[in-house]
Subunit: 342 residues, 2 copies
DNA sequence: GTGAAAGCGCTAACAG
DNA sequence: CTGTTAGCGCTTTCAC
């Protein structure tokens, strides 16, 4: 356990720790001979600077943190895995370590993580850990929109507006007039944005969207069925269902069938987050692909840029940077509900 | 950037920093009133201990490091992703952060990462970064066998011996007598083990295995074809090809077909690492499944155990812990080469 | 050109 | 019961 310290190097090369520090850092003025001597000593002893001590002094740790609510569990999803892969790739390119912050415990952190900045993936309003991190005295970048009830920070998000509009416009061309949106409630910034986009689109056409609030991260089709059954029964004028998650869409399709309405024919359906399973549905479901890997990369790039920014991190607060989200039009939006329901 | 320090908390609650420290840590003896006062002050100020300073003092950082050669690139493989998922899960369960160590650069680290221990996934002899980490004054656990030319450390590995023997025994039951093994060279501990296992199995039967050395991580089927073509042409007595990677197997199958020998019929084939693609081959290829997720978990558990071990980390050096590796017998080992080639 | 000294924020001795 | 002191390993003035 005997780590070699700068003191050892200094002693071995017959200089003071101060000189040794400068010699290795390439700073300070000294004879090349001295510098070389110190360098050799460091090499011989296998000296590695203690990152903790250095960080304590300099305020930089050369590490970035990533937080995701229940990170361990969410690693089962390809979204988080892809995101993480992108983030690691980008962090390493900038010679930073990438710390996956502990998130399992429900008790608050007692210690500020040793990172220069933090990325919060999918900030959720009731995620206490996320809140804690966002109040840390280090810059924070949110991967996806921040719910309005959370403190503002720099945001990197998929371009949902453009993507969802593309889906809606395609549907409108098939005659759709009254879309229903089943999306997460105000806990999720993503949900808020989807609501806004659909709301704006409908407003332009002088109609009211039908909105159903779901819980972010709800993985149960059955639960979505329960939420959607009364609404779809009461609103026969709905000619399209936009589900935020694949689960919402699958729930909706099941409810629609129960009501004798054929998804993709009498009622168009689409998802705001793609998954391989949607391709296997009958009919295959139109969906927006969330560019997880690109988002991971972009979040790190953004964070690094903020750290390097002379003007300080506050310049970035609340600003949103956007990453394109490809749209996959499939058979579920190829029907003509207007004709069918007239 | 104004982080709240212990000094602030102490000042606010009218005690010294030392007392404040103990009050929050629940150590030391003091009136409950004082302790409560300090706690409240800390809460009010939003105090979070600086992990760097704490770590510097205590020598523990509550973080574990993971290294994989070219981690960023390898995140494309499901093996590393699953491994990482398992490691993160386990680390968080033990309330540790998980640091994915920077691995892209070819220049050596100048700083020892702030972690209590390191996991080296797939240690490769010519990975300089892995070597550096293994010489760090913190415990190291290797995920997979360590090449004999590297310093020893605690090892957690899949139980290749049992799995490969199961494959060979099944093949022997179909009449196989002369297996060929195409596996990574001495750069890879995995390769060394495979060689040993096949060697031992053959020795028990009084035959010499045919060995072909490949490069660890070689992803090209074509390259494997080149390596295998001369050997398979010269050794018609080979009645089974065991490829370490799916690429080796696919290369071998292609070569065999070129020689007019039907894989799975005239010559059995199997892989020592499963991949979905092997199922789609014709015939589907028998393979050993590498339990990446379980290995990730086991490595972290092992590392935590070593850190908690009173006897110090040296007790674990060189000891191997094993994780079961499921064997999937498929059509590629269902033929009877002995009959065919007699 | 080089060394001495201070201090980053924290914890662990030991006084009082 | 609580405060004082020392120091983890490093960087950074500032003297010499």
């Amino acid at each position: 356990m005997g780590a070699v310290t700068l003191k050892d190097v200094a002693a071995a090369s017959g200089v003071s720790v101060a000189t040794a520090s400068q010699a290795l850092a390439g700073r300070g003025r000294m004879t090349d001979a001295t510098r070389e001597r110190v360098r050799r000593a460091a090499d011989d002893l296998g000296y590695l600077a203690n990152a903790l001590a250095r960080g304590l002094r300099t305020g930089r740790t050369q590490a970035l943190g990533v937080h995701h609510e229940r990170a361990a569990a969410n690693l089962a999803t390809s979204y988080f895995r892809d995101f993480l892969a992108g983030a690691i790739e980008a962090a390493h390119r900038h010679d930073h370590d990438l710390v996956v912050l502990s998130s399992d415990t429900h008790r608050p952190r007692t210690t500020a993580p040793h990172v220069d900045g933090v990325i919060v993936v999918d900030p959720i309003a009731d995620d206490r850990r996320a809140r804690e991190l966002m109040e840390l005295p280090v810059p924070v970048v949110a991967g996806e929109h921040v719910p309005s009830s959370m403190p503002p920070c720099a945001v990197v998000a998929a371009d949902h507006a453009t993507a969802v509009r593309a889906v809606l416009d395609a549907a409108a061309a098939r005659g759709v007039r009254r879309p229903l949106l089943a999306a997460p409630d105000a806990n999720s910034g993503w949900g808020e944005v989807l609501r806004e986009v659909v709301g704006a689109w409908c407003a332009e056409r002088g109609v009211e969207p039908v909105l159903v609030a779901t819980r972010f991260g709800e993985q149960s089709i059955e639960r979505h069925r329960e939420l959607l059954t009364p609404v779809l029964a009461a609103r026969p004028e709905v000619d399209m269902v936009l589900g935020a998650s694949p689960f919402a869409v699958q729930g909706a399709m099941s409810v629609l069938r129960g009501l004798g309405r054929a998804p993709g024919r009498d009622v168009l359906v689409a998802a705001c987050a793609d998954e391989p399973g949607l391709l296997l549905e009958d009919p295959p479901v139109t969906a927006v692909e969330l560019p997880a890997h690109a988002l991971g990369v972009a979040c790190v790039e953004r964070l690094v840029a903020i750290l390097d920014d002379e003007r300080g991190p506050s310049a970035a607060l609340g600003t949103v940077q956007t990453v394109p989200a490809p749209v996959h039009l499939r058979a579920s939006t190829a029907g003509s509900p207007a004709t069918a329901s007239t």
